[in-house]
Symmetry: C2
Subunit: 117 residues, 2 copies
């Protein structure tokens, strides 16, 4: 059993190409006992910032905690607000943008790299 | 890509033996396209209520959204508040109790039954 205060977890800048004003915290990571199948990250995107517009072979399960934004896709933007859930399927092109005056904060869970193949 | 408002998801009472004042919403479930490895649920526990004190062979990854409570274990109680993360490892005995005046609300993700064996 692990109980961890999210605010105490190291905040790291996201430096991938196409990311602007984004930080990540690995709230539950692979080394944690029992986290064999999936891991939990918390992202923050400052007003005007965005994650990369990209795609990959794994899914995202997202829960919006604070702020306003959009999930951009090739088919258009979907508005997101606190309490919204986003399921990005494997290979979906996607980008999270903060469109409000407040930092956009969301959880984003992904499968653990070594699980499930 | 699926965008879903959590407040619109059906709220179901948890009727397992040992549960008291608990509801569950399946925010991302197995039938959703791309949710092959893990699923997302949101729980609410009213003041004085609790989930069952139990154990099972799969993990929980929890993020506390609102309220105050404890995770009870055979070794004692761990206080939880908004922004806290709990990793319940497989076979850990655990129970979530709402000890505050406000409903305890948390996300709890589990591996999808058909993934990972």
């Amino acid at each position: 059993m692990l109980v961890r205060r999210a605010d105490g977890v190291t905040v790291e800048p996201v430096t991938s190409e196409g990311a602007e004003g984004v930080t990540i915290q690995w709230l539950i990571n692979e080394g944690d006992p029992g986290a064999e199948h999936f891991v939990m990250r918390r992202f923050e995107v400052v007003p005007g910032g965005h994650t990369p517009l990209h795609t990959h072979p794994w899914e995202h399960e997202v829960y919006v905690l604070a702020g306003r934004g959009v999930v951009a896709t090739p088919d258009g933007d979907h508005a997101i607000a606190p309490g919204d859930v986003v399921l990005v399927a494997p290979r979906d092109v996607h980008q999270f943008r903060c469109t409000g005056d407040e930092t956009l904060q969301f959880l984003c869970l992904i499968p653990a790299p070594e699980s499930c193949g």
